[in-house]
Symmetry: D2
Subunit: 239 residues, 4 copies
Amino acid sequence: MKVTVWNENRHEKTNEKVSEIYPEGIHGQLASFLEEAGYDTRTATLDEPEHGLTDEVLNESDVLVWWGHMAHEEVTEEVAEKVKQRVLDGMGLVVLHSAHFSKVFKKLMGTGCDLKWREADEKERLWVADPTHPITEGIGEYIELEKEEMYGEHFDIPAPDELVFISWFEGGEVFRSGATFKRGRGKIFYFRPGHETYPTYHNKEIQKVIINGVKWAANTNTPEPVRGNHQPLEEITKK
Amino acid sequence: MKVTVWNENRHEKTNEKVSEIYPEGIHGQLASFLEEAGYDTRTATLDEPEHGLTDEVLNESDVLVWWGHMAHEEVTEEVAEKVKQRVLDGMGLVVLHSAHFSKVFKKLMGTGCDLKWREADEKERLWVADPTHPITEGIGEYIELEKEEMYGEHFDIPAPDELVFISWFEGGEVFRSGATFKRGRGKIFYFRPGHETYPTYHNKEIQKVIINGVKWAANTNTPEPVRGNHQPLEEITKK
Amino acid sequence: MKVTVWNENRHEKTNEKVSEIYPEGIHGQLASFLEEAGYDTRTATLDEPEHGLTDEVLNESDVLVWWGHMAHEEVTEEVAEKVKQRVLDGMGLVVLHSAHFSKVFKKLMGTGCDLKWREADEKERLWVADPTHPITEGIGEYIELEKEEMYGEHFDIPAPDELVFISWFEGGEVFRSGATFKRGRGKIFYFRPGHETYPTYHNKEIQKVIINGVKWAANTNTPEPVRGNHQPLEEITKK
Amino acid sequence: MKVTVWNENRHEKTNEKVSEIYPEGIHGQLASFLEEAGYDTRTATLDEPEHGLTDEVLNESDVLVWWGHMAHEEVTEEVAEKVKQRVLDGMGLVVLHSAHFSKVFKKLMGTGCDLKWREADEKERLWVADPTHPITEGIGEYIELEKEEMYGEHFDIPAPDELVFISWFEGGEVFRSGATFKRGRGKIFYFRPGHETYPTYHNKEIQKVIINGVKWAANTNTPEPVRGNHQPLEEITKK
């Protein structure tokens, strides 16, 4: 399993709080526990040529993990389209937190992907809504985060194929915080937590969910549909 | 209920067979039975300024019906984006036949929307897969069309929110030929039949389904979500 | 539109608090605002012969509204099976609050339908999760109830066909509190609020949702599927 | 992975054609290729004590495969309820062909599970409707069976969580022939082919789908929900 972790890597360079929590960058932290879980993991960031997402990198990636926030608009149309196409062709995609507003996610959803938000050091509790789902393997019936950013409904996404987590927030909102989508031959997992100023990706349960999400999102040699003009498989009676 | 029927209106100008079947254009025929069903119906076509889809027209339309085929690429990005946005804001959308490949539908689906196809004068039988759905009101358990174009799986769409019809084709394929999707505050109905060289939109059962589809797709004064920064509704304990 | 409101009508007889809030019984209150909304409404209760649900009553009902709690086990198998069958045949069903544990709902879901619960005079806030849904017509983006019983996840139901509301509770839980299901030719709406010791069914927004739910659940002359042995519609080549 | 294959094993005893195709019984044939695929597989049949499904057997089974047809009614209520409960508790279930009418499947679906059928030695072609699904691993975009029994829509099941295959039949019908459902903590895969008088379970592609289905249906240590009375996780303000 080959995993690429993409991060815009901007907050880390300008916000000391962030670089203290994630000295190797958010991508470094994500890659670190994914590598430990046994995946062959590399990273790519916005400021690299082609944002680090060359055809070669994309073609070799079974799953792409995406974190972005302040620089969504700096991702070129070309790269965003290419990533979208790779997902439709079968690459898995794990979309984290503020990447709900990334070009790639918005293109794949077809909706605005907007939501309510608030930074108020408040408690989030993620409840498991689907206790059959392999993404919930090895965790309890909820995950508690002492301080996180709030995201609230209505989250402008298509109804997910599967709703895995629902979040409760101290300030009075709820959110569909773990959701899966299938697009083309690709599988997508959106997972809400991970505001840059909190140590969320150091949390072992959050790590477990992301590790599970990567595993779930990988394609397993499913059929490649043939499209376009098609000869009949049965004789057609000319009437 | 205000309905706008949009048609690229090109086959009608160049293919005699089409103009014989639809002397008032495909849009004229669609508008005719929708008007008869009691909807306040107007038409718009590709070659009008702004393709006939000014802000005023879009804002006044409860539901937009879309037929296009050979000229998808001539629809401007600007108009396609505006239509998409109106759907997210609550306008219903009924997408017919080859409009599976329209810019508007592809943007709203987030997928390639491709499929298998064949023109071979073959029989199509549309089976009702959801006998609770108001779109099936007043029809039998299947609709038979003596001659139609074939569309076959895999149809590259997200799993529909509701699967209303499944088609059987004489040449050996199947197709999810009636499917609903919700995007933002808007409801979308895709309905397969309607190749330009067959008199499909003169068929009373097909007309009934489209009339039902328009009714179903109209928004009924549902809440308008507020998004962006949000003040807490409950006190947040500073820890 | 003919609506029957069914209530076990037991708390009303033994708990003064309940009979003060609902002097005509919970069924009386529900019937009162449904009648006012223009539906031809009658009531039926547990202690009537056949629980008030004779074949005639069921066959004449377009939609059945169900409230039960302490006496689920007193509903006979025969009546529960008959109601289930009528739903599969096309009668709409609106299942309220503690009726999540009714025989009829459990039979139709195929799951245990259990949940977390607590009576603690706490606040519930129901967020709209599907702003396209006709059941949300005319309300805001959330409904607030100052005091209600808590129901918490995991709610043991199949993944709903549509998730309309998600509840936030003061004590830290969330709940899928408005959900639709299709079974056979019938449509089912589960709606959470309505603990007997709170005046929930006097709340105008709650009333609006139930009125909308009844309208949505009614069947609209959709096809009646034919099942069993079936002659071929096309010639089968004997090979 | 521990798999139990259950079969009523009746046709095999009375119909020579069946016993010629499946000299070890349908269960024997299913178990043979599942064992070969690396699963620890045993069989159980109707005429054994408790139908071979003791508490011990059920508790040890990660996945149960079920084939039944003429003797559904001979399965005791007690065993059917026990199997249903084990599925809700997390055992996977693969339901084959005529087991659509088994007590266990009907209880878990909540619907009638009826369909159209015909025995006419006709061709079936199963098209992949979900090319992301692990159940389709390693097969092509369709599977062709020269002769099978026909099952036709409307199949009286809840809308599946995932629609994996759609069948085309020579005689003019279609069928949702591969479908997944989640109930409680359990995963269910219904797969249509396998009429007793055809050598369907000797077909390598059909075997591959069943092997994949068993793998998919197994629970992977997901959370066990706690239900019932629940203490608040947050302080509730007494107003």
